[in-house]
Structures are given as C-alpha cells and as structure tokens.
Amino acid sequence: MNLISSNSVEIKELNLHQILIRGDHTPALSQLVKSQFKISLPKNNLEIEEDKNVICSKSSFDQWNIIFLQDTKIKIDTVIDKINENEKLLATNYSEGQIYLEVTGDNKIAVLNKITHFDFREQKFPSLTSAQTLIGRVDCSIYNLKNKMLITCNKSFGDHLKNQLIDAIKF
C-alpha cells in the first residue's frame, strides 16, 4: 500500500516473499538455484541478478537473498525443505519477519541522506547492487534496482524506520 508520496518521493510498502540461503558459492548451489528459481547466482559480492521479477543478491561470500518482486506460484516452504536436504546449505523463509519498502522519486537519495550515512553515489553503489547498513539506527538491506530502491528490515523495527522516512520527507 502507498505509505507516502510528496516532495517527489514515493514510498510503497509491499508484501514480498523472500528466501535467505546460507552456504558456500558452489556449483551445487548455483545449479539448485537455477533449477528452482530460473535465476543464476551473481558472480561478485553485493551484486544482484534480476530476471522476470525475481532478484537474487549475494550479500556476502556465503549469504544469498532471493526476493520475489511479484506473487509467485512457487511453493516457498517446499522448496526450502528441498534445499535444506543438503546438509551444507541453510535456507530460511524470511518473508514474514521483514517489511519491504519500495522507494522511488527524484528526491529519494536526498531524503535518505537525512537519516543514513550510507554513500549512494553511483560509483560507490551502482544499480543492481545490494548493501547491508544502518538507516535511522536500524539494520537494513538496500537493493538498488534500476530506478527504485528496495529497503527491507526486521518487522519489529518497521514502524521506527517508516516514521523516520516520513519525517525526513516532511522536514
């Protein structure tokens, strides 16, 4: 639903599905992800692969996030059980413990610069990269997708983050 839209910044809150996978970057993992989600693993750290409304980011050398930007017919929990059969992989359904904010508009960086120290400059945070950092003293993940930012954080910090974003837009 639309959280706020003013001073050329729009923030929408979405309900997305997300799978967090921990495991080393092995051919077995990339083959498994390819077969289950039709997307390949990014090569380097912090890169994002995007393919038909599914994104896969490499958050560090052994941590992967798969986010479905639109409803998917895939049975998340059954896929997770399948992945977990491999003792060297840990997959978790992260969908319900997170909030997902889509931030768009020309002023989005100017507003974010009010509540986070993170460097959004193109050369430091090019499109199709992800980062984990602090926004308004809250641990967040940021996904730089073409002309929008996807920001996620733990649900119990959700109100705190949203209220600070709205406040930053208003003042």
Binding site: K114, S156, H160
Partner: protein, 992 residues
C-alpha cells in the same frame, strides 16, 4: 562624533527598517543588520559585563570571534550566550544583556572590580577555605550564583535536521582564495561543496576595502558573475550561513547551517541543519583573524579591532565613529584610512608602533595629504573614560604622553591564520617569524590550506599557491589575476604584544582575555607561581577558556609568556584547540533523534491485541513486553499478579514469548559446534527432542540459557533470553568465523520469522486438542521436551512441549501472518477451560516457585553453573566447551563460593525484597557482614507467603539453617534457608 550610515552597500536593505528591543529599550535597524551593527547605528556602546570583574564591555569585533557582545534572546526560548555580531535582527526581536544585575548601567557585580587586587588569577584555590564547612554553606553558593553569563534558557524541543554529504572536495570559506579554487576546479566534474559562514560569498572582497577591483571588475560584480557560473554547474553546491565547526578523522566535517537568518524561528519548522560531510579532499580557505594589543584599560567600550571597524562600514553599512583614532603595529590599516576618506570622514590620529622608515610610503602619502596627525614609533599607553572611551593617551618615541579626546579607538595587533580547524585535522603548526604567528605546516589528512589561512599574506602569491596545491586534482590552472588594491601587496608587521603602563596601580588593568577578565599581570603572576607551561597557565588563569576560545588574544598570550620566559614562541607552543570551532547548539547535534526517534520501540505481532486487552507494558531491552494485564481499570500490578499466578496453576495461562531470541544452526559440523558453544552434551539427543541448555563465557560464568531443539545432528534451533538474543548470535558468529572456520556451520537469526506462544497449566492439553484437532498431545505421542512440525491454516507451526512455569505446557512457534488468528483461536477454545493471558511479572513469579533461574537477574556475570546448582547441565565426558577450563581455577573450584538457595520468612507476614542482603545478625548497624543478596522475591498466592531465591556464601551447607535478611522498612527479619524449589519438587506436573 557619532555613528553614520554608509548607504552604498548591497547587503543592508536601508528601505526596510526593523524594530527590536535591547534591555527593554526600542531601537531601529535595517534588514540585514546584526544586533551589533544595529546597536552601533544607535550609538549604544555598553553591551555586557565581564565574567569576573563585571567591567562594562562594548562590541570589540564584527564576527564569530566576538568575546564581549554575548546577549540573551528572550524571543527565542531565552537562548543565552548568542553572539550579537552574528545574530541578525528581525521585527519584534527581544534582546537582553547578560551577567549584570539589576541593570547594565549599574551592575552590583562591578564591586568585584574594586576588590580586583584580591581576585587575581587562581585566588579561588588559596581562599574560601576557612572556617571549615563555610565552603559548602557560604562561599560556594555565592560563587555559583555569580557565575555563568546568560540566564538558563526555557525548555525547547529541537526541530533541526541532519544531512549527510559524500563529495570529492569541500572548500571551507567562500572568500577570495575559496572562490578562486572553486573557479579552477569547476570543469573537473569533481563533486564540490563550498561552505560559507556568511549569507554572502566574497570574504575579504565584501568585508573590507582592501581590494576594489578584481579582473577589472568591481568586487560585487565579479562575485555575482562567478556565483552565477558556479550555481549553474551541476557538480558544485554552495551552502551559505553554514559554519564548519568540527574536522574529524578521516576527512569528516561537521558544519551547522542557520536556516532562519534574519527571521523569527517558528517552533516546528527546521531552524538548523547539521551537515555531516565526508570528502576525499578538504580545502581550508577560511582566512585569518585579527588580534588585539594589551594596553591599560584596553577593555573600555569604544575600543574595536581595526578590521572589524572596516567590516562594519563595508559589510554592514555603518561607520561606528566618523573620526576614530587608529593604532597599529602593521601595514593593514591603509584600506581603513582610504575608506574613511572616501566617505569624507577622517581619522582623528594614526598611531603606528613602527618607526617612520618601516611604514609603507603609500600610507604615509595619504596621511600627509589629508594631514592626519601621525605618531610613529609610538604606543597607546591607555584609555580612560566612564563606561566608554573618552580620552586616549599616546606615548611617542621620546616617551611623552599626548591625551586625545576621542570616543573610538581602532586597534590592530596583526593577523593570525585561523588554524583551529587545521589543528583539529591533526595537522601541526610552525611559527612564522616574519608574520609573527602560527601557520599550518604538516597536515596528516588530505587537507589543503590556501590563502591567508595558510599564512600567505601577499596578494601576488595567491594564484601561484592555488595552482601548485591543486595541480594533483588536474584543475584548470588559474591565470594571474590583476587586482587594484587599497592595500600594500605584502603585509608587514612588527612585534608588539603589550604597552607599558605610565604608572603602576592596583586597579589599572591591561587585558589579554576580555571575556574571562584575564590580565597580563595574571600571566606574570602565574609564571611566577610555577605555572610556566602554557597548558598550566591557561587553566590557572582561565585565559582563552571563554566562549570565544581566545580567538583574538591567545597568540598574544604566547608572545607575552615567551618574553617573560625568554624563550622562542615555538618553544612555548600552544594549547590544544578543542573542537568545536565555535559553540555548537545541542539541539542541532541531537537533530530528529529524540523522543519517539530516540530508540526503536520493538513490538511483537500481537501488540495491538495486548493493548486492547488491558496490558500494561515494561521495557525489556528495546522490546515492549506485557508486564501484567488489568482485568479491571483499578487493578494494580500486585493484584493482577496474585490473580494471574493462581489462575495459571489452577486452569491455564498463555504468555507472548515472541521477544525471546531464536537462532537456526545448520551444517555438517553443527553438532560439534553446539557441543563447543554450550555446556550440555547434545550428541546422544534423539532427533525432534529438546533440552534446556546453558552457555558460559570463556571466564566460566553463566552468560545465557535457552532451549535447544535438535531437528537432526546437522540442524538445531536455539532460543535465548530476550536481552541476550543479539549477544548470543554475535558470540556464536565470532567463534564460528574466527576460532573454528574449518567447521561447516551456518547461523541465522529467525527471531522475527516466528511468534512464540507459551501456554501452560492443567487444562492446557484440553485447549490444545480443541485448537489443533488432528494432533495428539498425550504423553506417548507427545512426550515432555519433544517437538513436532504441524500445519495450521496452511502454514507450518512448530510445537514444543516445554514449560517455564512448571505446569504442563507447550511452546507454539507460528508465522506472524497467522499469529493473531491462532492467538484468538486459543482464547476462543480456551475460554471455557479458564485460559487467561499473563505478563512477565507473573512469569517471573511462577518460574521462581519452580526454582528456575533467570539469567541476568539471578545471575550477574560472576556465578558459575555449580554456584547455580546446574552442574547437571554439564556434559559428563565432554572434552571441551567454552568456559570449561575456567571452572577448575583455584577461585572457581572453591566449595564455599556463593550458591543458589531458596529463602522464606519465619513470620509469614514479612515480605522479602529483591536486592536486600542475607546477614547473620538482626542488627544492621554498619559494617554488617553480608553472605549474599536476594536475586528474586515474590509474594506467592500459591504458597501463601513471600519467598525468594538468593545467592549466598557457602549456601548449600546453610540449607536448613536460619539467618536474617535486611529490609528497607524494618531493619532485618529472620528467614529460613531452604532448597531453591517451592512447588512440585518431583516435577510430576511437567510429565502429567
């Protein structure tokens, strides 16, 4: 001989007059005036009283370095210590002078100046000591009342915001050098931020008459065109009314922007922005500051620094005095004299300490042409007058004193590069023997210093200096610029820190720190008493410790000290320049991060249900947890807990345990990892079973506890205490990544992926069977400490049979999306079985009745498993786990350590209080030997009396004996020491 307007300036709107009040009197100024320039327009000379002697003080400068003109802004929440030379006026502004009572004119405090011989530096340390006790009752209260400058402000809620910047280059100072540097970097596509403390760019181009044309254009035009060009470029941003205050390590700059210059800040609007700037290169071009000369009564209102006098004319369009006397030891006053003459005013006299042959020909030419009385090789001996300058004594080369009738003396003691920010950047200074000042020498960070800030006081060197210093940024080299000067190309100066008084007297004073009333005699006395190190002298005399931080006098103090000690000034050194450059408002530092944004308020998924059903919350870390539930509006904590505690043991109760930490551990070496992290041995645990586990620090002390559910040898789920969640996860990650990277194990926090409902009580099984129709909860199918994965409303649910209350109980782990539905279903089915919701206080009571400890309350980081009766949790034949080795050290292996016991009062009406101590006697006359303290205590409706748990020395041996517990109300009362378990010692209910 009074103030006169200079209408030909662009920064003052002479057509817009503004009314404001100063000490209740109405005055008129113009749009763009500061309080100082407006008061000068109205010939107001006395603006405040000095800190210690309460001597009258006038406006001494025209900028941030002002020591005297500090005022209180009544119309802005009584903001104290505001610089009148910076704060612009607006319609309805109410200003009050500071540190004087009953009024500025006749201030009782000025009695101090009569007693001044006694109040010399450091007198506090040698006096007010006798008789004993008088310091607290008499002297200190008097001193405190007299101290401080402004009155306390009114309560104010900050509306300022913060803004982070990431740029390639920051240029501090939009003056001549700053603008030239920006011009040369314009085409490099570097992202550049220019910071200017005034509302207009230009620096000395707009603040002085020194340069009249630049590149054959009038200053104002040149600035306007360059600004338009820079504003047009996408990679350059200009911040005006913004003062850089702090230069931190690694090129991190803090600057404060005033958004309401010249207007009344309306509550609720953004009044200030704190800019936090990261830059690869920081260019300091923030110029220089003029310094004073010490002479007799150099604090009389009507004495002003020459550069500031010129700035009032040039920048603010007011001539403070048409015929001032000018005194200087350097070449800088030529531009001021020319400006006065242009405005057909004339200095009443020009006094120069240098001998005639050293004085610039151009200066002499204009003086003779306009037959301005000239004194060379001469000093100002002193000034006299009642609350302002009326007579100026000039001592010529032969020592003859001439007395001039005048109300204004302009003084220039020379220029100091403004090195405050450079020293904050951890660069070091060196003394310049030609310009007699400290200037930046070796920088430590990517710091570039330009212009007079770098100690370059020669116009013809500026462009070459910029080209050499910016070449590595492949900037566009500047061509030589031609300037028409009302100044000599090169600035020259002769040493002069203070002049000799004609006759010594106890009451005559020549000042070094005007705000803190520090005289040159204080410096001499300090050195005489052994405080010959400059850091000692500063603290002994409080020199340069006022709100101006000695900007116009600290170098003079070094000069005088170096002469007294007969040392080079560079040997005397300077004290440390402590940030900020100028006082920084608390409100801007706090920004939006207060009240509801101070710290997150973490809520569980069913928080709203709790609120609707009478929950009273307590803060547990950042979480809000239901403390207890009011069954009716008047029910208090005690009554609610007594009701809930009985109810759970008789029927059933459910607690929202979602705040407890939950960590998923998986990998081929998960079992080995868990055996190393916890004391327990998980090897022989059957899959789908659970165990209460203990975690120690490497020091062997209890750090956290929780239930470990083993899915299989490669996959575990661990719960932690609410407060310990973050710490336990970090603890595990640290050891997995740094100590045992060879182990294949992965960790994941799933605290927020599941809500946890802990239901317990005799009727629990009935309720669970109604809610989960297809699950069998009897002992065979669902033994104690086992768990299973089930589905509820097409979502996976994990149910674990465990209980913290000692009753039959289950922990339900459910996904947030259906959590509320399940919670409501528990009540829909459980109502007839008497199900209630209960809070943390009842949980504490019930678990204590069962003898279960709470880590963080019954443990305080100094107790081992053995102390807490938990040796059974230590895996028997385990080779190693974190903390194991510490358990066998001499002090931890002692048998008489503090151990966990239960206590109950002999007289059932006595109430045991948490935190009180177990003692052996009934008297509490100190010192009393303490065996240990009460870690938990409650009044138990199930036992019918107060009871507690305590950790006491040699506790196990004392079980069965009597002792005393101290009490906040009745000294101490007798108790019995028993085993720390009060209900269902055989644990029958858990397995019923």
């Amino acid at each position: 001989m009074t103030a006169q307007n200079n209408k030909d300036v662009t920064h003052i709107a002479f057509h817009q007059s503004i009314n404001f009040t100063f000490d209740g009197v109405k005055y008129r100024g113009f749009k763009g005036d500061t309080i100082a320039s407006a008061l000068i327009r109205n010939n107001v000379r006395v603006v405040g009283r000095s800190f210690k002697y309460h001597r009258p003080r006038g406006i001494y400068t025209c900028g941030i370095e002002e020591p005297n003109a500090l005022v209180q802004i009544l119309s802005e929440h009584n903001e104290p210590n505001t610089r009148a030379t910076i704060k612009q006026i607006y319609e309805g502004l109410e200003v009050e002078s500071q540190n004087c009572w009953p009024s500025l004119e006749n201030d009782l405090g000025s009695i101090n100046s009569l007693l001044s011989p006694l109040f010399s530096a450091g007198f506090y340390n040698k006096t007010f000591m006798r008789p004993r006790g008088f310091w607290k009752k008499v002297y200190e209260p008097l001193i405190r009342k007299a101290a401080g400058l402004g009155k306390p402000p009114k309560p104010f809620r900050t509306t300022s915001t913060q803004l982070h910047h990431h740029v390639d280059v920051v240029i501090v100072g939009g003056g001549l050098s700053g603008l030239l540097a920006a011009k040369s970097l314009a085409k490099t596509e570097l992202k550049i931020l220019i910071i200017e403390q005034d509302g207009f760019l230009g620096g000395i181009l707009k603040n002085s008459n020194k340069i009249s044309t630049i590149e054959n254009k009038d200053n104002k035009l040149w600035i306007k065109e360059l600004e338009k060009k820079l504003e047009g470029l996408e990679n350059i941003k200009i911040l005006k009314n913004t003062l850089a205050t702090t230069y931190n390590y690694i090129n991190h700059l803090i600057a404060i922007e005033d958004r309401t210059t010249g207007t009344l800040p309306l509550d609720g609007n953004v009044d200030q922005i704190l800019h936090k700037i990261r830059a690869d290169h920081i260019i300091l071009a923030n110029g220089h500051i003029e310094r004073l000369v010490s002479f007799r009564n150099n604090d009389l209102p009507g004495i002003m620094l020459a550069g500031s006098f010129e700035k009032f004319i040039q920048r603010y369009g007011v001539i403070p005095e048409t015929n001032p006397v000018i005194f200087s030891n350097n070449s800088s006053c030529l531009s001021l004299i020319k400006k006065l003459i242009d405005l057909n005013c004339k200095p009443q006299a020009y006094v120069d300490s240098r001998s005639g042959d050293k004085i610039e020909p151009e200066l002499l030419k204009i003086i003779h042409k306009k037959n301005i009385p000239l004194f060379t090789n001469a000093h100002i001996e002193g000034c006299d007058g009642k609350k302002q300058v009326q007579e100026i004594s000039v001592r010529d080369a032969e020592g003859i004193i001439t007395k001039l009738k005048s109300k204004m003396l302009c003084v220039s003691g020379g220029f100091n590069p403004d090195v405050h920010l450079f020293t904050q950047s951890k660069g070091v200074l060196s003394w310049d023997d030609e310009y007699l000042t400290f200037k930046p020498d070796k920088s430590f960070q990517n710091t570039i210093v330009l212009g007079s800030n770098a100690g370059i006081f020669q116009y013809s060197k500026i462009v070459n200096d910029i080209n050499t210093k910016l070449s590595f940024l492949d900037h566009e080299p500047l061509l030589e610029i031609d300037l028409t000067l009302n100044d000599t190309d090169k600035y020259s100066i002769e040493k002069l820190w203070e002049t000799k008084h004609e006759k010594e007297s106890r009451w005559s004073k020549s000042f070094i720190d005007l705000q803190n009333d520090v005289t040159t005699k204080d410096l001499r006395q300090g050195i005489q008493e052994g405080f010959d190190r400059i850091e000692h002298l500063k603290r002994f005399t409080t020199n340069s410790m006022g709100t101006d931080q000695g900007k116009i006098s600290s170098i003079n103090a070094l000069g005088i000290v170096s002469e007294i000690l007969d040392k080079k000034v560079s040997e005397v050194g300077t004290t440390i320049y402590r940030p900020p450059y100028a006082p920084l408002s608390f409100a801007s530092i706090a920004g939006r991060g207060t009240y509801d944004f101070y710290d997150p308020e973490r809520k569980t998924s069913i928080h709203e249900w709790h609120k609707k059903n009478g929950a009273i919350f307590e803060d547990v870390g950042q979480w809000k947890r239901p403390w207890y539930f009011k069954s009716h509006p008047e029910e208090n904590l005690y009554e609610a807990v007594q009701r809930e505690a009985v109810h759970v043991r008789k029927y059933a109760g459910v607690l929202d345990g979602s705040t407890l930490g939950k960590i998923e551990i998986k990998g081929s070496d998960a079992l080995e990892f868990m055996n190393l992290m916890y004391t327990n041995n998980f090897s022989k645990m059957k899959p789908m079973s659970a165990r209460y586990a203990l975690m120690l620090g490497e020091d062997g002390m209890v750090m956290d506890d929780g239930i470990i559910s083993k899915i299989n040898d490669k996959h575990f789920i661990a719960t932690t205490t609410t407060g310990g969640a973050a710490k336990v996860l970090s603890h595990m990650e640290e050891f997995a990544q740094t100590e045992w990277p060879h182990l294949n194990v992965f960790l994941n926090s799933i605290t927020e992926q599941f809500c946890t409902f802990n239901i317990s009580g005799p009727n629990t099984r009935l309720i669970m069977e109604k809610v989960f129709k297809d699950i069998k909860f009897d002992n065979e199918n669902f033994p104690f400490m086992t768990f299973g994965n089930f589905t509820y409303l097409k979502s996976t649910v994990r149910i674990l049979r465990a209980s913290f209350t000692g009753e039959l109980g289950y922990e339900i782990y459910v996904r947030p999306s259906i959590a509320l539905k399940l919670w409501e279903d528990l009540f829909r089915f459980g109502k007839d079985e008497g199900l209630i919701a209960y809070g943390t206080e009842t949980m504490h009571l019930l678990r204590a009745e069962k003898g279960y400890i709470i880590v963080g309350q019954d443990t305080d980081g100094s107790v081992t498993p053995h102390d807490m009766d938990l040796e059974w949790m230590i895996g028997k034949n385990k080779k190693d786990f974190i903390g194991k080795r510490s358990l066998t050290r001499t002090d931890t292996i002692r048998s008489d350590r503090k151990q966990l016991v239960g206590i109950k009062p002999i007289d059932p009406n006595d109430i045991i209080e948490e935190g009180q101590h177990i003692i052996l006697t009934s008297s509490i006359k100190p010192p009393v030997k303490m065996l240990g303290h009460v870690t938990s205590s409650y009044v138990s409706p199930n036992l019918g009396h107060s009871f507690g748990m305590a950790v006491i020395k040699d506790g196990k041996k004392l079980i069965g004996s009597k002792a005393y517990v101290s009490s906040s109300s009745k000294g101490a009362f007798e108790i019995e020491i028993i085993k720390p378990i009060f209900i269902d010692e055989e644990n029958k209910r858990l397995v019923s």
